[in-house]
Symmetry: C2
Subunit: 300 residues, 2 copies
């Protein structure tokens, strides 16, 4: 009934740290990523090559990629918004690039200042050039359940954007409940629709845990045969343009659920918990992570 194996895509160093008010030192980012490379995670999104004016927290993307210790069996990915970003990412040998847009017009406009229709012509050359350079491309679609501006998103809206992104050459799409409002019945409706059109192995789910429903939504996704999930060490992350958005589901909480359900991930929960606690010390604030709190309690 459930998949036997799930791949976790760690997005904390990008989606998490881009939302921290403070700039985390490059050396601290490198230390975190090197630590994550040693947990069994096979996919780490390390940074974003957006204009540093937009997200100064990740202005050191190139330095981070250049300085981390690259493990052979780990894919090190980064976000790129446009050709300039792609060129910077390719120059430091990124393994995979991710492009991003929204399923809803309101969020797409507020996040990248373009309509959905205007976005594809910008992404087309980025995807083409990345593929020419021998890289795979991942596509993020935000606000797949609801939009902070437009309200509920229809599954058909998500499908239309996904259709176009696959056509442009992305090999996988990450479906984001950006503001963390989704419940299992909505995830069911979305995936019931999408899995009729797309290979389920080409879909990943990206849940924010703003209202505590992320793990219930993960279980619903597993029922639909989804085997790829984005998560963030310590539950870091959010979206600076979506009010009320709190962090991604914590990697360690996701691991606890999956392992408890007998689903393999290849990731060492204890090592991830310890890495989360090191982030808590660095950021000097409590994490949105149940398993980090449990680990702290056991040490006390």
């Amino acid at each position: 009934m459930y998949p036997t194996h799930v791949q976790i895509k760690e997005v904390g160093p990008r989606d998490g740290l881009q939302n921290e008010a403070a700039f985390i030192k490059t050396a601290d980012k490198v230390r975190l990523i090197d630590r994550l490379s040693d947990t069994g995670l096979r996919y780490i999104e390390v940074s974003s090559f957006v204009n540093p004016k937009w997200i100064p927290q990740l202005a050191d993307a190139a330095d981070v990629l250049a300085q981390i210790k690259r493990e052979n069996d780990v894919t090190y990915a980064a976000l790129v918004p446009n050709m300039q970003g792609l060129e910077r990412a390719l120059a430091v040998g990124v393994d995979e690039v991710s492009v991003f847009m929204s399923a809803s017009e309101g969020h797409n406009r507020s996040n990248i200042n373009k309509s959905i229709a205007e976005t594809f012509p910008v992404l087309r050359p980025v995807i083409e050039e990345a593929l020419r350079a021998g890289k795979t491309v991942r596509g993020y679609i935000s606000t797949v359940i609801a939009c902070p501006i437009d309200g509920p998103t229809k599954p058909e809206q998500v499908r239309a954007v996904a259709d176009k992104l696959f056509e442009l050459g992305v090999s996988e799409i990450s479906l984001g409940d950006t503001i963390g409002v989704g419940v299992p019945t909505e995830v069911d409706a979305l995936l019931h629709h999408l899995t009729q059109h797309f290979d389920r192995d080409s879909l990943a789910m990206h849940f924010h845990d703003t209202r505590g429903t992320a793990l219930a939504n993960v279980v619903e996704s597993l029922r639909h045969g989804i085997t790829k999930f984005d998560s963030s060490i310590g539950g870091l992350g959010g979206c600076p343009y979506a009010k009320g958005a709190s962090g991604n589901v914590a990697t360690e909480d996701l691991l606890y659920l999956l392992h408890g359900m007998g689903i393999e991930t290849g990731v060492d929960l204890h090592k991830v918990q310890q890495a989360a606690l090191s982030m808590e010390q660095l950021l000097q604030k409590p994490l949105n992570s149940k398993l980090a709190a449990v680990a702290k309690g056991e040490q006390a």
Copy 2:
């Protein structure tokens, strides 16, 4: 597929406040319960008539019951461990009493200092006397998924205790994942077993959210036709005798999930959120509640 209506049993004033280090003033408890009576909740567990030496935080159980404003359509319940407790509870006109024990020997011994077999003869006269006084009796079974001392609990252990409690005259059993370790596959195994033997309307689920799995476990329970759930305003609560136990699932988080899934509860989420924020101010510490955090964010 899911039930259309669910009844929420609010246990915050008892299970929550018994785990606060500080004694909450009687007037503040009364104010909280009166506020909860105005949210649409139809069942509130207001206190516990255990020996005040064990749980000094609830030493004022009789005063609380005497001072609250009783709404006709709300059941005001309390925990009773023995005949002395029952007599105190009946003297102030409690509507329903709850008895409690564990599915595992280790937790039963550490919590009530008796073996499981030794516990029934203590509960028998309590249940009989309560029934004679015209009251219904609820039975709590703790550690239904796992025990902090004995490890995993078998569904057959839970069934054996439930069988005996029903035989003694309880009308409903609340099944507690006391240390909050359960995942949906375990809840599935437990309820698959129990619903073969017991009417599902006689079972309630009581999840702690220690590892973030409570709402996923609620959804699994709904799939088994369970329509009664215990929860705690602001996610207060735990178990003083079970290491690592953090709070019950927050009432407001449970409401958000259920309402989002189109399941009616009759409870006003906004009023519950506001009551939770008032508790946060009173306790001067952040709550284990996602929806309280969302409400705070919206006010900011």
